[in-house]
Symmetry: C2
């Protein structure tokens, strides 16, 4: 088991994360200036070098902009790369706006069914085999166990791979991660979890059968039911 050391553990990475969280959480509002490098770095007890590199990271994600004399300002939300994996993760470190979470679920409901439809057109036998393998894993364990949820993710990844669309897969993967972070805390523990396997099997069979329309609808229904398990609904 190779433990992968996260390079973001360096000083510049941690500062970028801290400041990023302060920005996306609204603690530092758009237009606000992040006091000069010398003061800010001194206040954090770090060097200007490390502080500047942190600012570069935030700038690369559209959160801030620096210019001589004017200073470093938080940019308006319109410029933020809200779908950047880090920005999304930082957003969920705090308490995201209810509206934002709904937006993400909605986006997921747009993207994943489309991916399922593409997968139905392009899947190979290996794709279907991988999907069935994941379904086996979900059947052996359940969504109540970590292994079962891992199998669920594997199922979705297999679909995205079969869709043969890199940007679409990247997007769906990022949005999926964000959605999982929210659901992790909102699970209804008092109710016994509904058996999600039949929904997944319908998606799998539609893709295996090469029926895009059925795959799209089955995935839409799967997401709707999963959302219902959380006591939520769209519209």
């Amino acid at each position: 088991m190779t433990d992968r050391p996260d390079p973001s553990r360096r000083i510049h990475g941690t500062i970028a994360r801290d400041l990023g969280i302060e920005i996306v959480s609204g603690k530092r509002k758009p237009g606000e200036v992040l006091g000069g490098e010398i003061e800010a770095s001194a206040a954090l007890g770090i060097s200007r070098t490390a502080y500047r590199e942190a600012i570069r990271i935030l700038g690369a994600k559209g959160l801030v902009e620096s210019r001589p004399k004017a200073g470093t300002r938080v940019l308006p939300r319109r410029h933020w790369n809200v779908l950047d994996p880090d920005v999304l993760a930082w957003t969920f470190e705090g308490e995201p706006e209810e509206q934002f979470i709904r937006d993400l679920f909605e986006l997921r409901a747009v993207v994943e069914p489309a991916a399922a439809a593409f997968a139905a057109r392009r899947r190979t036998d290996e794709d279907v085999a991988r999907m069935r393998e994941a379904l086996d894993g979900m059947a052996r364990h359940t969504l109540a166990t970590a292994e079962g949820r891992a199998a669920d993710q594997q199922f979705h990844r297999a679909i995205l791979a079969a869709a043969r669309n890199e940007p679409l897969a990247a997007l769906a993967s990022t949005v999926g991660a964000a959605v999982r972070w929210t659901t992790k805390f909102k699970q209804r523990k008092h109710e016994l979890p509904r058996d999600a396997l039949p929904d997944h099997e319908r998606v799998c069979e539609a893709i295996a059968a090469g029926d895009p329309r059925a795959a799209r609808e089955a995935m839409t229904e799967l997401l709707r039911l999963a959302l219902g398990d959380l006591g939520l609904t769209l519209e």
Copy 2:
């Protein structure tokens, strides 16, 4: 007219852009090491500081990863934020893979009709007014003129605003920009441009009427026709 000075004109920004283009264009392949900071910065005739900040920017976009002793490596495509506006722009600085362009058009065909459907549910009178204003602009000038194309963009922006979904709008806006970059070079100049206004009006009316299904279908058709004008088709 305030000319907005682009902060990316600093050294770290230009180096990040140059290296970024080399990476996304395939000139520097995943796994490859970007020679040590001292040599690399010396070769570029800049300081280590500026070079390191460029690397931080690339790292924030998932293109590279640095670790002590191991050096800075180009990450596999799977880690790239391909939908990051800068990464996308850098991709189109070179000659993007045909497949990648098709993927983007496909993604657009997924996202924009969905946005139109949401807009049909949520539009206010002001939203509709803005859309009609944009259509007027398209009618006065045509898509052959810069003003006409600006009006076209305004129309799409109005729809995204009416959809009331920030991440969806950000995504569609980014993808739309990328799609425009490609079409800018592929215009069929020898043929007289088809009048795109009726397609747009159908979308506008469906949204104004609050008919999500019709709005989705009208937008799908609009994109299909626009694609046809380029001599392209999906599937």
